[in-house]
Symmetry: C2
């Protein structure tokens, strides 16, 4: 049996490895357009922070090791250009020569990932403008930053990649201007929490412009001018980090159904609508356990898990992917920022009678030095009291607390139950009432008030 | 209506506050033997670490403030010496004068806490030997440590208080010898994890003696000799931290039923077997959600919650205490140590076909500097695959991960489900597969092997 995997990063290599492990006699072929497989793109900002580190350090396992140690036929520089689902064949182009060939499959796994969005404005293709998605993007940006005379960087987009890069660039001594189209940075976060993030950026020396749209780019000698509705920002290098979109053209042209999100629709075994074709990772949807509908939340964690299950499924496994709750976190200077589940507006759009509950509780007991406030915002279902989402900003402990809240979403807990959880306490780690318990208790009180209780 | 609360620390003051808040017209009387109420005893070690801090800093709200701001009748230096449950009266002794009086109640809440165990050996009452439980204990020990010439401290007992004190005493420059009767330090922890704790103590300069029982104490001039089966340990001060036992004599003599653990038996509304008498905190049992039987796990977190519910129940509230899973954590030098649920031996004693699953995964992604291994041991039900308990030792993130595992116990998850949780990931916080996910995946594989899968 031949299993063909299109795409060799997180989902693709997880799928290929799992298929080969479960079915050692299967022939597993990975088609990867680029020069690298199996890299942790999430580490790119931190690799850029350290000029002594090679970007290739982000590669977990090289293509060569996949070939020799795992007997996976990894083909770098090879793009799948068409899928004939009826004939069960993939049309492949060797990108260096342009040569075409046809590759049959018994099972096909689509792991084509997502691409960085480029701004649709004049000058967007000028030199000195970068995106950050693939390993090669990271290499190009790191090289550009190392060029003599580069001092000013414009970061366009206040999502987590833009924010992580602000910190990294300041750590390397660059002058940094962050330009965000929306009113707040930290896309998708509660406005109150986003203000805390903005203040931290400014404390870190980042010039933050919000409600400012980029309208174009110009080059004036060595200087790049980022044109905005609020005037031009001069820079040596610009990083465009305004989001990603799923790479679905190949799948769509083959007749594979996309979901309402625009990503590839899959069932809980990562199967697409066409026989023997699976999809996994940033090109695919995942079931959202809170909204109870498909969602597209492209993250490495989900990509790895989906890939593993798609690879197992391709060789006969029957394990189901339980779904996601939309948990993510990032660090920006001294702040930790995390979220899980639905924001209030998002929940309302989905039809929930949702309300926002805000609370503040220190990260440590008063008897232990160094605590600071953890700011939590919960999204609560006003009808049932169920927790629908949570976001937190603090100087420590955010991933752990957000993960507890993610578990609460998975278990479909009400905010009342949240207030009575048996959580770990010691003065260095939390007050006797952990911020999660306080968030639950505050929300419960608000819920009772709304109910006239 | 008069509500009488016996004991004014965590459970007692939570109960009194909640009763008064819910029923402002009720008369709420708190009888406290000692000179202080409402202190966070867990902070005592860290208060001792800082010579500039007053032990009274641990008091959350003073007796005076309870009286004036909350209109709670706090009577310091007053001990309840007998309960007449038939007549609904408490016999009270004013400890300074010895005067007795009788106080009627409509509702009684017993929050008498627990007492430090003293070693039943010759010389146990000599000068220079301390326990650490009440605020006054902390004051006495701190004073003794400040005396001129005090350099050597023997800590007897390797539970969390003993271990926290080892760190604190080393931070203050004392020579510290830890004497533990059992084979390993970190009472109740897995042997493999306990070894990591021991190594950390030794790296921190603590002399660690295990499998060594204290047989007595002697004074030779200014020196205290701690006599053990392995010879004498010379010290200036000794701290006995060999556990606590619930203060139940008063309740027992009144005909209140104790549970199998020796603590006061309560139902899920914190009611004892006698009408209108509640019990909460370290003197009382709590329902254990994993073992599904009453447990006695005296911790401030549970005491606060139980007190709150007992106080509400006393004035007509009807909320149930869901129970505990036995979550706790402490810090010792650079290590964080946490647990939740049942250990393997404990689970087997309770009749589970339990097995131990060990795993190791870094705390951060390889792309981010400074990660180190998180060591996790799970207790797994071999019949059902259900998670029964978890312990973890690492240099960071332990409380958060243990709390996620505590939530998994609360939700009665199997280890397989654990492996697919949607947890937060960013390189500074975790690898793309969080240590919790890896622990679940490793346990699932072991479970399948045991089943011959």
């Amino acid at each position: 049996m031949r299993v063909v995997v299109i795409g060799g990063v997180a989902a693709g290599m997880s799928a290929a490895s799992q298929a080969k492990r479960r079915s050692p006699d299967a022939e597993v072929v990975v088609l990867e357009r680029g020069p690298y497989v199996s890299y942790g793109a999430c580490g790119t900002p931190y690799n850029i922070e350290d000029p002594a580190r090679m970007m290739e350090d982000l590669i977990a396992i090289s293509a060569e090791r996949f070939r020799t140690e795992r007997r996976i036929d990894v083909r770098l520089g090879h793009a799948a250009v068409a899928i004939d689902a009826g004939a069960k064949r993939v049309e492949v182009e060797a990108l260096d020569s342009g040569a075409r060939s046809s590759l049959g499959y018994e099972r096909l796994i689509i792991a084509t990932g997502a691409s960085a969005v480029r701004l649709p404005v004049p000058g967007a293709e000028l030199d000195g403008i970068f995106t950050l998605r693939e390993l090669t993007d990271g290499q190009a940006l790191k090289r550009a930053l190392a060029a003599p005379g580069v001092k000013r960087v414009a970061v366009i987009g206040g999502g987590y990649i833009g924010l992580e890069m602000c910190e990294v660039l300041r750590a390397r001594g660059f002058e940094v201007t962050l330009i965000e189209r929306q009113e707040t940075v930290a896309t998708g976060f509660d406005g109150g929490l986003a203000r805390l993030v903005r203040e931290e950026l400014e404390r870190g020396g980042v010039q933050v412009l919000t409600s400012v749209a980029v309208t174009g780019f110009e080059r004036a000698g060595g200087t790049l001018r980022v044109l905005t509705g609020a005037g031009a920002v001069e820079a040596d290098v610009a990083l465009v980090a305004v989001g990603v979109r799923p790479n679905v053209a190949l799948a769509r042209e083959a007749g594979i159904a996309l979901g309402a999100t625009g990503a590839i629709a899959t069932d809980d075994r990562l199967r697409t609508n066409l026989p023997d074709i699976f999809a996994a990772g940033d090109c695919a949807e995942a079931w959202h356990l809170v909204s109870e509908r498909p969602a597209w939340i492209p993250l490495g964690t989900t990509a790895n898990k989906q890939g593993k299950l798609a690879g197992a499924g391709a060789v006969g496994g029957d394990q189901r992917f339980p779904g996601v709750v939309g948990t993510s976190a990032f660090k920006v200077f001294g702040l930790e920022v995390g979220r899980t589940g639905l924001g209030v507006e998002e929940a309302r759009r989905l039809g929930f009678d949702a309300f926002r509950s805000e609370s503040k509780q220190p990260t440590r007991a008063g008897s232990y030095p160094g605590g600071s406030p953890a700011h939590t915002v919960l999204t609560v279902d006003g009808r049932t009291g169920r927790l629908l989402g949570a976001q937190q900003v603090a100087r420590e402990g955010v991933p752990g607390r957000v993960n507890v809240l993610a578990m609460a979403l998975t278990a479909k807990l009400t905010v009342d139950a949240l207030a009575w959880l048996d959580l770990a306490y010691a003065p260095p780690f939390a007050p006797v009432y952990d911020p999660v318990l306080i968030a639950g208790a505050v929300a419960e009180k608000e819920l009772a008030a709304r109910r006239g209780g």
